[in-house]
Symmetry: C2
Subunit: 456 residues, 2 copies
């Protein structure tokens, strides 16, 4: 291989510093998932194709990575599709397995497959990579981690209350103060559709309404009319054009607006319960906001819809999202299993924490001290101390070769190792260690206990 090797586009190598930072975020998410009673599961990286295909729409089917059957796959290939060179149709006969596209469908499959072993309500979390054959671009990868927490088997709105708290707790612990947890409800959107008299116009309506800040009330109304929404209908939802105030005030506006829609009023009641309890229990640093334009996964969610925006000083899309879906496992034949869940966007959270300089300096997998190697006798003496320091949980290492001193110190420097331990004949004779602080340059002579305390 003459040229330097590379990796497939849309994938990434992670250096030690990057892994340490990613693990720092993942660990905080994981710890809080568990504090909130969620339990981890893991599912295989690839599923039977029939488990995944048809679950994400046509676009999704196209973006699923398929695994070529092993061995003589052409022997079982569909002759007609092969003859016609129909790649799409041929796929099913030469590929039985596909890489996980998200964590939700595999979770639904898991619940149905293991339903007799699961104690419901089942609170599970899952932190694993997913793969999508999307066109790679800035911030969009073909392999990325999802961090999901879901509850299945309970319709209790206390779950929604706790999920908002979970967002608040995680982002507070990450030091990301001032994230906005936006909440909406699918039933509110259905109610609006009812009121404007056209459920097929709902997406056009919310998309237009979302531009209120940018193009103003007249601009929005103009766009709505262009999309075929009648002036009378727009008049009915006039309060949405001045949808400000506290959450309580917004809920009262919605209650007036959607009074004629049974489903809309159910959405109002759900929102009221969730928001009131979240606010009475209090949030540490997140801001709760009711956003009636929030419509992510419109065809998927049936109740609450969540999305998290980063602190206002950062220009970045949502860093989390989720909602309630009343029929999570129906696709695999298990009916009436309501689910509600949220997801954390690891890659974007990483970028935000990085931009705001919030990674603690201690987030590194680097050793605390490098023992300089002056030869085998000194190395042996060093390893006796190293063994005891490691037993005390301290990360330390020996430079493996008896290289020039400058090279060894340079190694510590380049690796950001804060201390060097120098052992020569004199130190061995007096049972001491010379500890050099590589930041200040200060050097002290210590016995083992002193050394241990200094690098602890």
């Amino acid at each position: 291989m003459a040229s330097k090797p590379s990796i497939p586009k849309g994938t990434r190598d992670f250096s030690p510093a990057e892994v340490a930072k990613r693990q720092y975020i993942i660990q905080i998410i994981k710890n809080n998932f568990e504090k909130f009673g969620f339990q981890p599961i893991e599912t295989p990286s690839f599923e039977n194709s029939e488990t995944l295909m048809g679950k994400y729409g046509e676009e999704g089917d196209r973006l699923i990575f398929k695994i070529l059957n092993s061995g003589d796959f052409l022997a079982k290939a569909n002759a007609a599709h092969l003859e016609n060179k129909d790649s799409t149709k041929l796929t099913a006969s030469i590929s039985e397995k596909a890489l996980r596209y998200d964590l939700t469908v595999p979770f639904a499959r898991y619940v149905v497959q293991h339903q007799n072993d699961i104690e419901f309500p089942f609170k599970r979390y899952q932190i694993q990579p997913v793969w999508r054959a999307d066109r790679p671009q800035k911030g969009r990868f073909r392999e990325f981690f999802q961090c999901d927490a879901d509850v299945v088997g309970s319709k209790s709105l206390w779950q929604e209350v706790e999920l908002v708290q979970l967002y608040d707790t995680v982002f507070t612990e990450l030091g990301l103060k001032g994230v906005t947890v936006k909440i909406n409800n699918r039933k509110i959107l259905s109610g609006i559709a009812e009121v404007i008299g056209a459920s097929d116009k709902l997406i056009d309506f919310t998309v237009a309404l979302d531009k209120l800040d940018k193009i103003g009330e007249d601009g929005v109304k103009k766009e709505m009319i262009e999309k075929g929404i009648g002036a009378a209908a727009i008049e009915k939802v006039q309060p949405l054009f001045n949808f400000t105030g506290t959450i309580a005030e917004k809920i009262e506006k919605l209650a007036l607006l959607l009074a004629s829609s049974e489903e809309g009023m159910k959405g109002v009641e759900e929102l009221r319960f969730i928001c009131e309890n979240v606010m009475k229990l209090g949030l540490a640093s997140a801001i709760l906001d009711l956003d009636v334009t929030l419509a992510r996964g419109l065809n998927y969610y049936t109740g609450a819809i969540f999305e998290v925006a980063p602190p206002k000083e950062v220009a970045m899309g949502s860093i989390g999202g989720g909602g309630r879906y009343d029929d999570l496992t129906g696709i695999f034949g298990l009916k009436n299993m309501s689910g509600v869940g949220i997801s954390f966007g690891l890659d974007r959270i990483y970028l935000v924490v990085e931009e705001l300089n919030l990674f603690p300096e201690t987030v590194t997998a680097t050793s605390k001290a490098l023992f300089i190697n002056y030869g085998d006798a000194e190395a042996f003496y060093a390893l006796q101390a190293i063994r005891k320091l490691r037993a005390a949980g301290i990360k330390v290492e020996l430079y493996p070769d008896n290289a020039k001193m400058a090279k060894q110190f340079q190694h510590a420097d380049k690796r950001n190792i804060p201390f060097a331990v120098i052992i020569g004949e004199q130190e061995i004779a007096s049972n001491l260690y010379s500890l050099k602080n590589l930041v200040t340059g200060e050097q002290v002579s210590l016995d083992f206990e002193g050394l241990k305390n200094a690098v602890l």
Copy 2:
């Protein structure tokens, strides 16, 4: 989908209890990797096919999972191979990417690709899944984790010394006392080949010798002669048939036996250095043993060879292995980069720890207490306490629905949650919590601090 969904053969779902146990093992391996100065990297799940193909032999090429190109893959398919229905040859033109088969080749690729950013010697660890299209059988999976620690860029034998210590430290911390770390050296094997006058017979020789316990000296010699090894050659290595004693004694026997082989003597010196220093530094619970029949990856390793056998009371193959390879990155064009590393066999370690009942009872992601739900007022009161307990790092949860009491207690029981917290009107009025120990049945009334201390 009428039938219950399933997963591809050779893959596994991991339940919460299994994930917790796997994480317990991984965490101990990871902590010790870092204590020994290794730093984590992660590489993509799939690599460009050219990175992997041809690196594991013909058998390996066959067992690599290939990813079908997205879109109209037949448009670029090789017409002749398609015409001839030659699956093997067609693969390259319809599949550009393949799933990682091990962690060593991606690591070599990483080192070469990022050589200008890496500070050598580079001690890296990597804990990620790999995939092999092997025939699934008991204990052999198509997706499994590898846990590797390697150093590149140093020929120092202190690395080998530390890697034996690393095995010792990890297995001691897992409570797996009495594992045997077997050590050999490729140069010893080369020396034996020289002495028996036929390097092409070396594998036959070591395979036969390995049966000494089972078929006795005469049986082994008979097999060797059948394989074409001359009686005179066998006579020369007679000491190997009575290869007992301490490691020091074994090394002296080898020194006599291989005196005429320069390479063999180099192996003796390496073994002597490693073993002497390991023994002088001391091992916590592992047993070091010199095993001249150890030849794993014969064509791969160039120096030390390691393999770890579980404690003798467990009938199971090796739970770890590794060695030195003088030209790790040569396959990608970077010469003279010596590497040495070891691997931990997660799945087998799991089985051994399980069989010996060594998983601590605390290894579980289950909540410490379930708050019983008597209605919204009680649930709200409960969540006020829950919030503070979680802030103190305690895993607690609220039963989401106001279901029958028996059902809620049963839920706690089935999930092995040790405590239930009962809150009724009386508790709210007196600002107290009734805590029921679900193992003993004992129930006490506590204030918040008392509750917190009880479930800490």
